[in-house]
Amino acid sequence: MRLFSLFLLSTLLLAVEIFAYPNYSDAIKEKKIYPLGKNIYEKRCSSIKPSNYNTFSALEDAIKNDAHCKKLQTKYQEALALYLWEKVRITKKDKKYPEIVVTHKDKCPVCGMFLYKYPRWVSMIEYSNGKKLYFDGLKDLFKYYFEDPKDIKGLFTRDYYTQETIALKDAYFVLGSDVYGPMGNELIAFKDKKSAQNFFFDHRGKKIVNFKEITKSMVYKLDE
């Protein structure tokens, strides 16, 4: 009997916890709530230390009782709580790579085109000896890569949707879509599978692959 009541109580608690926790999609959190929460945190409520609280509701209560944040509207308090709970408290950060910058002199070593005209398509191979090569699209990058795949420190390009720099080894690629780069048919890169799939349906892609699945013949076939 005691065990049963304990079980009942714990389920109830869990249920309350689940319903108390605000439910938003990742896109809304990334694009709206976190930036809003960050602004509130920096402008008004920097006194709160999220590491001091063990549950989300405790953090929420603390925000509601804080002298500076008390007067804030509920939507701001919620945004602040979510930002602190999911972004500041968790130290695991998404790896950010610096933006790929090209000068007016840089040319693609495969096709010889100037790169500064196509900043959205610039991709980069970084060798372990510090040498960096820039390409005007992933197709040319892979052509080079398959000729000389040794001593490579990193391969980088831009995510099609967000335009942030991503590493090719974690990226997903869509082939055969109706989006063309400066060299025609391209591999379009995405940081996660979900956006790759959305792009696949929106732009009539033919195939989604990850880095390991890309072969030389696949890349050369894009030129046909």
């Binding site: 896109a27 809304i28 694009k31 509130i40 701001y76 959205r120 099609y160 949707y161 989006v179």
Partner: protein
């Protein structure tokens, strides 16, 4: 510098002064022509430049809601829907509009500001970086402050809500808009307070502004939203650019026709001049030859003469156009660009913006052509024997 023959230069100067009437006439026509062409190009390039820089500050996509074919308010829930679209990097519901300040017969431009959201307008963003706008405060431009002062509002202002009640807000700060004339009537209000003033519900706004990270995707996202929200009017930056460009190209067409007529007139004058010299001028060259000048000396002197006249006229014409356009703000000719809200010259301020290529074009079309038109007939006469010319 050492190549300039100052004796010949002096001769050229005296020649110009000797034929005063003829040369003054040429200088006047030449100056007016250059001034007209410069004016056209100054106005068109400046307006185009200003138009582009204004477009630069526009959000990538604006979504407006229509009800029964009329512009209506848009719900804030729509923002979340739009954020779910891949490629949209930010979206905010904007609250803004006109408020009639009937006492002064003015129309204020109220813009709602959320204390914690990112501002998409760079001017407002910069303003709010330094100053915090509290809930019961408003920031007004200098111009609006003066208007309010005329109605004895110095510390606060009473907005009349649609239900007739008053809403009192404190005038916390006034700012200078500099040369951004179109921001002259700007008043910044807290978003929620502005909803009260306009009689909006708590979740209503004027429109939604979106940012798109990859501009290649702009057109696709625009169509996607249009399909998703059948009642909405979706305007992308590219659409705006096309609309502006169309109007602008029409105006440029008018300009171009004027330009062609002007150039043609100039060439007729040049043709007339190149066709022959008067007997008096011929005799003068003949005398010079008889005195012992070589052909190249005569041409040298003629070159100086033509260069002085054409360069002087070009410079004065350029200066006149500069003053007319940028100091006097192009009265009459600028009116070609008047299109109510789009290109209002009075609203445009015509900041100095010169494009070197156009100035070079006008220079090359006038100065070397005129010099050639002076040299060629002189050379024809100068190559003849002196006695033949004077006979």
């Amino acid at each position: 510098m050492s190549n300039i023959n100052f004796y010949l230069l002096e001769y050229a100067k005296n020649y110009i002064l000797r034929h005063k009437n003829k040369n003054i006439f040429i200088v006047i026509v030449f100056t007016l022509l250059v001034a007209l062409l410069c004016t056209l190009f100054f106005v068109s390039t400046t307006v185009e430049y200003e138009m582009e820089s204004r477009l630069e500050n526009q959000p990538d996509i604006v979504v407006q809601n229509y009800k029964a074919g009329r512009l209506s308010t848009i719900k804030s829930g729509m923002v979340d829907k739009l954020l779910e679209i891949d490629g949209v990097s930010w979206a905010t519901q904007r609250v803004y509009g006109k408020y009639r300040f009937s006492k002064e017969g003015a129309s204020l431009n109220l813009v709602g500001v959320d204390p914690f959201e990112e501002q998409e307008n760079p001017f407002i963003a910069k303003l709010l970086e330094k100053n915090q706008l509290n809930e019961n405060d408003i920031f007004v431009s200098q111009h609006v402050k003066e208007l309010m002062h005329k109605a004895y509002y110095d510390d606060y202002f009473n907005f009349i809500k649609p239900d007739g009640k008053l809403l009192r807000l404190n005038i916390a700060k006034s700012f200078d808009v500099g040369d951004r004339k179109y921001l002259e009537d700007l008043v910044l209000v807290n978003k929620d307070k502005l909803r009260e003033i306009f009689g909006y519900k708590a979740d209503e706004g004027s429109d939604i502004a979106l940012g798109v990270a990859n501009k290649n995707e702009l057109a696709f996202i625009r169509t996607k939203i249009a399909l998703m929200l059948p009642n909405a009017k979706v305007t992308s930056k590219d659409d705006l650019k096309v609309a502006y460009k169309n109007l602008f190209n029409y105006d440029s067409g008018v300009f171009l026709s004027v330009f062609i007529v002007a150039i043609f007139t100039f060439f007729i004058i040049i043709y007339d001049k190149a066709n022959g010299l008067s007997s008096e001028e011929k005799r003068e060259i003949g005398i010079l030859k008889a005195v012992g000048w070589r052909v190249e000396d005569v041409l040298h002197a003629k070159f100086y003469e033509a260069f002085i006249i054409s360069f002087f006229s070009f410079f004065v014409g350029f200066l006149l156009a500069f003053i007319y356009v940028f100091v006097l703000k192009a009265p009459y000719i600028g009116d070609i660009f008047m299109h109510d809200q789009l290109f209002d010259i009075k609203n445009f301020n015509l900041n100095v913006h010169l494009e070197f290529s156009y100035i070079l074009l006008i220079f090359l079309l006038s100065v070397p052509v005129y010099i050639a038109a002076t040299l060629i007939p002189s050379w024809r006469v100068a190559t003849l024997d002196a006695d033949e010319v004077m006979r």
